[in-house]
Each structure stands twice: as structure tokens, then as C-alpha cells.
Amino acid sequence: MKCYRCGATLTQHDFCTACKCDVRQYKLIIEASNRKYNEGLEKAQIRDLTGAVTALKQSLKLNKEHVDARNLLGLIYFEMGEVVSALGEWIISKNLQPNKNIASDYISRLQNNQSRLDTYNQAIHKYNTALDLCHQGSDDLAIIQLKKIVSLNPNHIKSNLLLALLYMEQEHWDKAYPILKRVTHIDHGNTQAQRYLREITRMTKQKSNKAKPKTKDSVVRYERDNEIIIQPAEVIEPNTGKGTLLGFVIGFLLGMAIIFFLIMPGRLQDVRSELEENIRIANENREAQSATIASLESRLADLTEERDAIVAQYGDIYGEDSNAEAVNALLSAVATYLADAKDIAGVQPHMDICVKNEAFFEKNTNSILGLYDSMKALTSPSLAQYHYDLGYAAYEAREYDTAVSELELAVMYYSENADSLFYLASSYQAEKKLDKAKEVYGIVIERFPNTTRASQAKRALDSMQ
């Protein structure tokens, strides 16, 4: 605390130790101002903004140079939506104490955000307009304006209170109530809002009492087992026994009916649709497979025809498989003979293949046939003897079918052997192949006349006739 005359710091004495002036009343005033400031601060901390404003104004009335009280008052005005009043207090505060004053920060924040300041100003202007409309009797227009204000600056307490008042005038208690609750949330100590809330509560209570008249017969009293039972009259006690059973049966039948008539048809339809879909898909697959099979069969026919054509074409050049086998046999025989000329047993099977194959002599070239002739010339006497020996042994052993096959080969290799022909004919005869026997007997008689074999053949012919 400074002396008001000389500015010296005051002590606990009632006079200034510097200029000796009386400061007792001055100190009392300053102390009272400080007390009011503290009171205002406490109220502001618990959001009793109305009470805080009153206390701070008193503090400033005692000491206008109380910068803290003025700054706090500006802050509270700002919270209540009175932006211009707040600015005024901060500007005055800054003039009283230009340096180290938080009011400078508050002012610069507002001035830097010009759009926000315009919004606040717009809200205040609309409020003033709405107030004029109320005085003129245009309550509905005023309500519209006030709704816009509440959206621009929800903290503007005067707008909220005026809007609540207008709703209460129109008996829209449900609309006024939340607005007033919002005001009390911002300012707990707002007596106007609390009065309005009390009025709403009273009016709504009256209305609910009128709507629900009490009746005398609303409860039923009776005794059971030394107890007094009190229950509302409309309560129906649950039944037991037959009633329950009947209810159960009815409920069951009703449920079954619902399932059978409502749920089952739908399910059946779903299942039917699913089956039809599966059948359709199966049919499509089957048709696709049939088409594939037909295509493959056609392709197979084409390939078979092509193969036959190729076989026919190249068969003319290289011969059939049997002919090719005979040619290979001939070449093998030649190779065996060239390796060992006395290996008749090695040559014999190859030459037998050639001599038995009729196509070999028809389809082969002259070169092949010439080679065959050469081989036959070289080996036929030996091969004829080889087969005659085997055939005669088989004839003697009465193995006539083997005798026939061996003796036929012997005759193929060398047809001028009377013994081979005679025993071949005899083997035919033994196998009851009489025509062939007669033929061969005839050849023996013709080719070898006046011989023993011819005479034997003639007698055999006579015996068959």
C-alpha cells in the first residue's frame, strides 16, 4: 500500500512515515476494497457470477485503482456474454496501470480475432433488436432473433433469459426449462433464472395435478395369513391349475398354427427353389458334357480316318507289318548265313518266316526278292533236309500235324524230293485230308514214275477210292 500523497510505502502506523499525513481512513478504505475483491474472487471461483459482479463493483467503488478487481470484473462480463463491457473495464485497467497488466493481453486477443469480435457484436445487436420487438409486441419475431443469438453466443445470459421469458409467456415450459438450466450452469447465482425455474416447476406441477385426478378405489386391501395385503386395484392375480394348462395348450396350438401356415410355406418354397436351381445346373453340366463327348468322338473319327490314310499311303511303300517282318527276317537270315554258312539252325527260323509269307513275294521289290532267291539257292537243300528229318520223325511218331507242317516246308525249299512228297501225302491221308493226299500222291506218280514211291503212291490212291 502506497501513500496517496507522496507514494511512499505505508507501514503499520496510521500515518505516512515519509510525509506524516494521516492515512488511517485511507487504509480502512483500501482494506475494505481488498476484502470485497476477495469476496468477488471466491464467488467467481464457484461460478456465482452475479454475486461476483456485485462484490467487485463494490470493491471498485471503494478503490477505483484496484486493477485486479477491474480485470476480474472484465473477465466475468466476458463470460456472461457482455463483451463490450468487458473491453471497457480492461481498457480502463490498462490506462490505470499500463505496464505488467494482464488486461493488455485480453485486449490484444480480442482485437487480433476480428471475426470473433464481429460475431459477438452481431449477437449483441440482435439482442437489442429482439428487445425492441418484445416492447412492440412481436414476440414470435423476437423468439426467432433470440434463437439466432443463442447459436452465435450461447453464453449471452440476457438473451437466454429473455428467450426463456417469452417461452414462459406462451406456456412452452418444456422449451424454457433447458434454457434456464443452461443459464444457471453458466451463472449459479443468477436470481432471475432461479425465479423463472421455480415458476416453471410450479406451473408444471399444477398442470400434472389437474391431469391426474386421484381416485379413492386405487388400492385394494385384504388379509391373508395374519398379513394385510395392499395392492393396486387393477392388478389381476395370476391363475393356477386349469387356467394355466388351458393357456399353455392354446399357446402351443397357436404357435404350431403360425409355424405351419406362415413359416413352413416359406421354407418349403426356399427348398423347392434351391432344388430347381440344382437340377438346372445339373442339366446344364450334362448338356455340356454331351457336347464335349460328341466333339471328342468326331475328333476320334477324323483321327482314325487320317491314320488309315497314312497307313494306306505308307503301307504301299513299306508293306504291311507281316511283310516288314518277313523282310527283316530275310535280312537276319542273310546276316546269320554270312556270319556262319554252316549255321543252318540259325538261318532256318528266319527263312521259314519268308517262305510262309505270301505277301512277301507280292509286295516287295525285285531287290528283296532277288536277295531271297540267292539265299534260297544257297540254303534250300540244307533247309529241305532239315525239315524233312523233322517231318519224317514226326510221321514215324504218328504226330501227323507236325509232320505235315515240317514236310510242307521241306517241299517248299525243295520240291523234287520224292520222299518228302510221299510222306507229306501220307500225313495228309492220316489226318483225313484226302483231297490234299490224293493231290500230292498224284504229283509223286507224275514226277517220279517207275519208282518205288510212285508205286506206293498208286496203291495209296487205290485204297482211298
Partner: protein, 51 residues
């Protein structure tokens, strides 16, 4: 019972940004200390006059 007209009289206009000069100039800046100084001054003058 709340009377609408009576309640409406309690509402007054808020100052807008353009009115801020008026708000500041119209502030009554007289406080208790000013009154005290005035009284002390009057006392001093009275003492001087009595002399």
C-alpha cells in the same frame, strides 16, 4: 406469479462495440478515496477559513 411486462422492464440493452467510447467515458470513476480526499480538503479549507 411472474408478470411478463414487469419482467421485461428488467431487461436493458447491451452496449455494442461502437458504443465502447461512451461506455468508458460514462463510467463514474469516483470512488471512496476520492470522497475521502474531498472531505479532507474541505476540512483543510475550513480550518484555513476559521483561521
Amino acid at each position: 406469479m411472474i408478470q411478463f411486462e414487469e419482467e421485461l422492464k428488467k431487461f436493458y440493452k447491451s452496449p455494442e462495440v461502437g458504443d465502447i467510447e461512451d461506455v468508458i467515458y460514462n463510467q463514474d470513476m469516483t470512488d471512496a478515496t476520492d470522497l475521502l480526499f474531498k472531505i479532507m480538503q474541505q476540512d483543510n479549507n475550513g480550518t484555513t477559513n476559521r483561521r
